[in-house]
């Protein structure tokens, strides 16, 4: 099962490499990884999505917690949560394609953020499967370039991950 693990870590040089190194040295899988400083500049928030049997996931959270620079972490998939990924996608858009793409973008609640005579650049945010759905609906033949941010997530309701 896919898991989303959200980590607060010291915003120190090398801290990220410890997390990434841990995954490769213990043969854990990383599907996506996002990281940025938080409102408290001494902390970074890192979100990693991974898959594996429960025993492996338990080890991943324990091993992450063991890293001296990891302050706190939560497995968001253990409870209700919101997850989002941002995609920027450059599409071939000429002739009748332009209207069709515009309609599809509206259906997926995306935005066209840059336009040339032959190209649309579309911004789309949502759960990863929605982004997959958009690419499928557009058809890969028209896609010139895709960039995805990886997943960020937050728990629903009162629950917070903070110091």
């Amino acid at each position: 099962m896919r898991r989303i693990i959200s980590v607060l870590l010291e915003n120190e040089p090398g801290a990220l490499s410890r997390v990434v190194g841990l995954f490769s040295q213990r043969n854990y899988n990383i599907e996506t990884l996002t990281v940025a400083p938080t409102e408290d500049e001494t902390l970074s928030r890192l979100t990693v999505t991974t898959t594996g049997p429960d025993r492996v996931i338990e080890q991943i959270t324990k091993q992450l917690n063991k890293l001296v620079e990891v302050v706190k972490l939560v497995d968001l998939t253990e409870g209700p949560h919101i997850e989002r990924e941002l995609m920027l996608i450059k599409l071939k858009a000429t002739g009748s394609q332009r209207a069709e793409i515009k309609r599809t973008v509206d259906i997926f609640r995306g935005q066209i953020v840059d336009v040339t005579s032959s190209v649309y650049t579309v911004q789309l945010a949502g759960a990863s499967d929605k982004l997959d759905g958009f690419v499928q609906a557009i058809g890969t033949s028209g896609v010139l370039e895709v960039v995805r941010s990886g997943i960020s997530g937050i728990a629903r309701g009162e629950k917070v991950l903070s110091l």
């Binding site: 324990k62 091993q63 063991k66 001296v68 990891v70």
Partner: protein, 572 residues
């Protein structure tokens, strides 16, 4: 406040940390530090001949004393040479601080002379590493390094020190921090009371219990608590290779050690138990054999300071995260207060069964009228040293023989690289102990393969007059490799034969030591006595032992705990 340069602050910090000895090797990036070292005499520096040996020396000292060891090396090759030593300490959770010089911060990333990214290179084999970014941070970083290295589950910490951080002309206010607080690092200080209570109830209700103790008992200084609990309960105890000495081997409740080359009775008792109390052990693959077949009838209580060790390979029914000494103490108090007693009848029949297993095999080997058996050398050493020596080993057959036949009654006396299995560990580790334990016997039981991996340290031993007794069980082969080739590769001895061995006697003499060769059985005792009588000399005893001996018992690969070879022909 006092104004000191970075280099002086570093050495002052070591003094204030109470560090007596550091082991190391100078070089360009560490020269400011070496100059500061020269201008004081509180911290004593031991110059090795290869940086790997400096780390093993610090490691041997740490294992014998429970105190963190300290290493000082330069950047680049100095730093990379320490990696095997650091990985050795990491796998066995040994507290240690390794101070590495680095090129000046202005040169980092430019492929400067003797530049290596030591933070990156060491990352997978350290508990933590720290880099100095301003000289004024040095006291705090050193304090943190020792704190992290020696608390929780101990381990090596590397400190990377760019040369400009130790420049003599820049001075800063020096104060050594009394306390460290790290919001992201808080090792458990006691176990969960509810879990401990639950565990004790299970322990008292068990019919076929066994206690399985590991190196964590020694690292956690919990031998006395463990011994008291085990004696109070009257349960059988086995320990891992790393746990040797945590409970007296000569005691009748002790079953010897368990696992791949453990005793028949220990492995049988584990397999047939209904309750395992694992204390500071990590169910490593050399213990469990095939995990899916591991001890089918046993419920498991697992005490460990490191939550990641619990349910990593074998699921625990009752996990207890905490320092073993505190948890065992609480358990003992509960056992004493409990109205329940262990089921005497069940325990008696369990012991009867165990005694039958012990009588069936126990620890034994076939002697020969003329060939010296490695096992008998170890047994004789045990007798001649009253079982009271510090014994270091390298890795291979001699290591197993030493662990099997030298019966340790005290913790911190059996010093070996259990996790990483580092050949070349034994001599420098023995040196670290000999230096700080001048009145104790320090034996390095080794083989002609392993000893050559750090043989250059005979020179260091001469410089500092370290009277280690090197017991070279010379079978003219990489014995354990050869044994596996005998068992699994139809005796195709691919590269396990040590051709062109040196004359170890001349070699020892060339380094200023005494060499004694033993190749006749009748010489064994008198010559070992002769060697041991030379209290202030290093003696290299080269003993020609049986070239065809195998280590038994040996678990059958991918079997369960009770599947063992007991000799070349007997399999159970």
């Amino acid at each position: 406040m006092e104004l000191l340069s970075g280099a002086d602050m570093l050495i002052r910090s070591l003094q204030d940390q109470g560090i007596e000895y550091i082991y190391g090797y100078p070089g360009g990036a560490a020269l400011h530090i070496y100059d500061a070292l020269f201008r004081q005499d509180e911290v004593k520096h031991i110059l090795v001949r290869h940086e790997q040996a400096a780390v093993h020396m610090a490691d041997g000292y740490a294992r014998a004393t429970g105190m963190p060891g300290t290493v000082l090396v330069t950047s680049g090759p100095g730093a990379t040479n320490t990696i095997t030593g650091i990985a050795t300490a990491f796998m066995d959770s040994i507290p240690m601080v390794v101070l590495c010089g680095q090129v000046a911060s202005t040169l980092i990333g430019e492929d400067a002379f003797q530049e290596t990214d030591m933070m990156g290179v060491s990352r997978p084999v350290v508990k933590h590493n720290l880099s100095v970014r301003h000289p004024s941070e040095i006291p705090e970083i050193i304090r943190k390094a020792y704190y992290i290295a020696s608390t929780g589950r101990p381990g090596p910490v590397v400190v990377d020190i760019p040369k400009d951080m130790t420049a003599p002309n820049e001075r800063f206010e020096y104060a050594y921090p009394k306390k460290v607080k790290l919001r992201s690092y808080n090792p458990a200080i006691r176990g969960h009371a509810g879990q401990i209570k639950k565990a004790v109830d299970m322990m008292l209700a068990a019919r076929r219990p066994v206690i399985y103790a590991g190196g964590g008992v020694i690292l956690g200084k919990a031998s006395s608590q463990l011994t008291e609990l085990v004696r109070k309960l009257g349960y059988p105890i086995t320990n891992t290779l790393m746990g040797i000495g945590c409970y007296p081997a000569s005691d009748k409740q002790h079953l010897g050690w368990l696992g791949m080359h453990g005793t028949y009775e220990a492995n049988m008792a584990m397999h047939h138990s209904d309750l395992i109390l694992a204390v500071g052990a990590r169910f490593d693959d050399r213990v469990t054999n095939a995990t899916e077949k591991f001890c089918p009838g046993a419920r498991i209580i697992h005490i460990d300071i490191d939550p990641a060790s619990i349910s990593k390979t074998i699921d625990a029914d009752v996990p207890i995260v905490g320092p073993v000494d505190a948890v065992l103490k609480e358990m003992l108090a509960l056992v004493k207060d409990s109205k329940k007693e262990p089921d005497a009848e069940a325990l008696a029949s369990w012991w009867k069964q165990i005694e039958e297993w012990r009588a069936f095999h126990g620890m034994r080997y076939e002697t020969s009228p003329d060939v010296i058996k490695p096992q008998e050398v170890v047994e004789m050493l045990h007798r001649l040293t009253n079982g009271d020596a510090f014994v270091t080993s390298d890795v291979g057959q001699h290591q197993m023989f030493a662990a099997q036949y030298y019966k340790f009654d005290k913790p911190n006396r059996w010093i070996n690289s259990g996790g990483l299995g580092t050949m070349g560990f034994g001599l420098p580790a023995a040196m670290g102990i000999a230096l700080t334990h001048p009145d104790d016997e320090v034996l390095c039981i080794t083989g002609e393969g392993s000893i050559q991996m750090n043989i250059q340290e005979l020179s260091t031993c001469n410089q500092y007059k370290l009277p280690v007794k090197i017991i070279n069980l010379n079978n003219q082969a990489l014995g354990m490799v050869k044994q596996w080739q005998d068992m699994n590769y139809e005796s195709r001895h691919s590269h396990s034969y040590m051709e062109s061995l040196p004359d170890f006697i001349k070699l020892a003499e060339a380094y200023g030591h005494v060499g004694i060769r033993i190749d006749r059985k009748e010489d064994l005792e008198p010559k070992l006595k002769e060697a041991l009588a030379m209290k202030d000399r290093l003696v290299f005893v080269d003993i020609q032992v049986d070239r065809f001996e195998h280590v038994y018992p040996m678990q059958v690969a991918r079997g369960c705990m009770k599947d063992m070879w007991l000799s070349k022909t007997e399999r159970v």
